[in-house]
Subunit: 389 residues, 2 copies
C-alpha cells in the first residue's frame, strides 16, 4: 500500500425529497445571498426549478440566477458569472445540474475571490488558493464532480478544454436525490454508467499491490453499477437502481477508490483526444469504445490483475488467469453493448477518422506519453486507436 | 435504500513517516499554539514523543502538554485540560494516542470554547455547538475515533461512562502511520480487530434492503480485517497487515458502512453493561464474547442476511441459507478464538457474574429496550448474557 492523503469533506444529503430542504441547509451555514447556476430549460420543465426557488425563498435566501451553462462549460460564461458574483457579493454558489454546471460553479467560485482571469487557473498561471463555497443539487449521475476535487472548462477561442483540481474545489455540500435522475435519457444514463465505471477502473488498473480494502470497494461499486445499469435499461424510474448509480458516481471519483493506489486516468486521456476533436462524441460513449481497446492491449502486462477483475466484478469462473482476463474484457464489451453504447469509433458516424491524428492530439504532438502499466507513447496509442476504428 | 447524510471531513495523512510532518501540517492550517494530549509513557519509550516534539518545534509551533490521559478518559482530567486550554488560549488540540486520548481531546476542544461544565455535554444538558479543531496521530487501530463523530468519557464520582456525537467532533486531520502500531500487544491488537469488526457488523445487521455498495464495502472491510488479523498474530510488524487494519478502523466507524442503512450498535450496548460493571473487561474482548451470543439468538429473524454474511465474508459455500448462516457464526467464533479472544464471560475470571444484573444495567433497570432486528427487552438480554456466562 502506498502512502496517501484522503480528503472528501463534502456533506452529502442523500435521498428522496432532499432537494426541498436546500434553503434550510444553506441558511444553516449562515449564507444570505447566493448565485444559482443551472443549464438549459430542463430543470424548469421538470419542476425542479420551482421546488428549489421555493425552498430558497422560504428560508429568506436572496438568489442571483445564472442559467444557461452549456456542456463543457465555456470560459466566456464563467467570466461573466465571476463578474456578476463579485458585483452582487454573493456568498456561495449553488449548482443545480450535472457535471458541467458544477464545474462552471467551481471555477466561478474561485474567480469570485481572485483578481486574475479564471483561465489562469487551468493553464496553471495561477493557483486556486481559495474559493467561495459551492453546493450542488445533482441531476445526472456521471462526472462525480459533486464530491471530487476537479473541474474542467472550455476555451472556445483557443479550442482548448482544460481541467484543474484542488481542495478548494471540494463542494461544501451535495444534495443527491435519485428521483431527479428518472428523466435522464437512456443514452445519457448509459454514458454516465461508463464514466462512473471508468473512474473506478482507472484507479483499479494501476500497479500497486496489495490494497484489499480499496479493491473490494472498487469491485463492489463496479458490480453494483453493472447490475443497476441493466435494470435501468428497462425501468428508468427504479429508485434503488438510480440510487445505487448516484452513490457510485460520488464514490467513484472522490478518491476513496484510489486510497493506497496510483491514479493514472490513462483511458480518460485517450478519450479526451477523441471527444476534444469530435464534439458530437459524448465522453462516456468515447470511453465505452476506448476502455476495451486499451484493456485488450494492456492486460498482458498484468494478467493477474485483469483476472481478479474478471472474477470479482464479472463473476468469471475460469481457473486459468489469462483466459479469465480475456473473458472479463469480453464481458465488459458485451455489457457496454447491452446498454447500447458504441463499440467502435466508426459507430459515431464521423466519416474518415485518422488514428495518427488522434494519437498526435493525445500526445500533444508526440511531446508526452500517457502513464499506464507501461508508458504509452505515440506508436502504442496509435495502435490502440487503430484497433477500434 | 434509506435517505442518509454522509459527512466525513477529516483529512487523512496515511502511511510511513507521516507523523514527522505534523508540524508542517499544523502550520499549514495557520495554528501557532496548540495543546498536545497523550497517555502514559509509551510514546516516550517508543521515540514517537521526540519525533512529534521535534516536528512541532521545527515549525515554530508552541506546545502546551497534557500527558496522562487514562483509558476511558476521566472527567476530572478533561476539566483540568479545559481550564488550561482556556488559560493558555490554545488554538487546537493534537491527540497523540488511541481512542481515549482522542476522545479526551474532543471533549477538551468542546469545553475550551464553552462556559458550561464538560459533563453537561454527555448528559445532554448542553449541546456541543462548536469546538476547537482536533488533529490526531493514531497509535492503536480500534475505536475509530480518528474519523468518527463520537467520543466517550467517564465520571468516576458517579461511576458513569457516557458518550456524545456531533459534527464538531469530526477531527480536522488524522495522521495514520501503521508503523506506530507495530508495538501494540497481541491482546490489544486482537481487541482492536474485534472492535473494528463490530463497528462494521453493527451497521451490517440492520433490516434495510438493498444497499449493495454499502454491503460490499462492509464485506470488503471484514474480509480484510480477518485476513490481516491472522497475519498479525505471527507477524506483528507486517506493514500491509497493520495498514489494512488501520484503514479499516477509520472506515468502519466514519459512517461509510452505514450509508443507506440503519445503525443500531446493539451489541455495543450489551457490552457497555459488561465492561462498565467490570473494569478489567476490555471493550473488544467483551464484544468477542457477546457478538456470537447475540448472533446465535438473532439470526433466525433474518436468515438471508446472516447467510450473505457467511458467504461473502467467511467464504461459506453451503447452499441452504440457515445452515450457511449458522456456519458463518461458527467461523466468527473460531476466528475470535484464533486471535486468542475469550469466548465466555467466565474466561475473564470475574467470579460469580449475574445475567440478571447485566441485563438490568443494560436496560437501565428495565427502563429501555435495545434496538436490533427486534426490540431486545430485559428478558431477551438476560437470555443472551446467560448463553455466554
Amino acid at each position: 500500500m502506498q502512502n496517501f492523503i484522503y480528503y472528501a469533506p463534502t456533506k452529502v444529503y442523500f435521498g428522496k425529497d432532499t432537494h426541498k430542504n436546500v434553503g434550510e441547509i444553506i441558511k444553516g451555514y449562515g449564507f444570505g445571498k447566493i448565485m444559482m447556476q443551472y443549464g438549459k430549460s430542463s430543470i424548469k420543465r421538470s419542476g425542479l426549478y420551482d421546488d428549489v426557488i421555493k425552498s430558497l425563498k422560504d428560508s429568506g435566501i436572496e438568489v442571483v440566477e445564472m442559467g444557461g451553462v452549456e456542456p463543457n462549460p465555456k470560459l466566456e460564461f464563467i467570466r461573466e458569472a465571476v463578474r456578476i458574483a463579485k458585483e452582487e457579493s454573493v456568498e456561495m454558489i449553488l449548482a443545480v445540474g450535472g457535471g458541467s454546471v458544477i464545474d462552471s460553479s467551481k471555477f466561478t467560485a474561485a474567480g469570485a475571490v481572485s483578481n486574475c482571469d479564471v483561465w489562469d487557473f487551468p493553464t496553471r498561471k495561477r493557483e486556486v488558493k481559495e474559493a467561495l463555497p459551492v453546493g450542488t443539487i445533482l441531476t445526472i449521475s456521471a462526472a462525480g464532480s459533486e464530491m471530487s476535487a476537479n473541474a474542467v472548462m472550455t476555451n472556445m477561442e483557443e479550442n482548448m478544454k482544460r481541467g484543474y483540481g484542488c481542495d478548494s474545489f471540494r463542494c461544501l455540500f451535495s444534495i443527491l436525490n435519485p428521483e431527479l435522475t428518472y428523466s435522464v435519457s437512456k443514452y445519457q444514463t448509459a454514458c454516465g454508467i461508463v464514466d462512473i465505471m471508468a473512474h473506478t477502473m482507472e484507479r483499479y488498473f494501476t500497479p500497486v499491490e496489495p490494497t484489499p480494502i480499496t479493491d473490494g470497494i472498487a469491485e463492489s461499486i463496479l458490480r453494483t453499477v453493472i447490475e443497476s445499469g441493466r435494470v435501468l435499461m428497462d425501468k428508468p424510474d427504479d429508485y434503488d437502481a438510480r440510487a445505487n448509480i448516484m452513490w457510485a458516481s460520488s464514490l467513484s471519483h472522490n478518491n476513496l477508490t484510489s486510497c493506497g493506489r496510483e491514479n493514472f486516468l490513462a483511458v480518460h486521456q485517450l478519450e479526451h483526444a477523441l471527444s476534444g476533436e469530435y464534439d458530437q462524441v459524448a465522453h462516456g460513449a468515447g470511453l465505452a469504445v476506448l476502455y476495451p481497446a486499451w484493456a485488450r492491449y494492456i492486460y498482458r502486462l498484468n494478467i493477474p490483475r485483469f483476472a481478479q477483475f474478471a472474477r470479482n466484478v464479472w463473476g468469471v469462473e475460469r481457473k486459468d488467469d489469462e483466459s479469465a482476463a480475456i473473458e472479463g474484457i469480453e464481458r465488459m464489451e458485451k455489457f457496454f453493448e447491452f446498454i447500447e453504447m458504441p463499440s467502435r469509433i466508426s459507430d459515431f458516424g464521423l466519416g474518415e477518422v485518422s488514428a495518427e491524428r488522434l494519437a498526435d492530439l493525445c500526445t500533444y504532438g508526440r511531446k508526452r506519453t500517457v502513464r499506464s502499466f507501461e508508458e504509452l507513447d505515440y506508436d502504442i496509442i496509435k495502435e490502440i486507436f487503430e484497433s477500434c476504428l
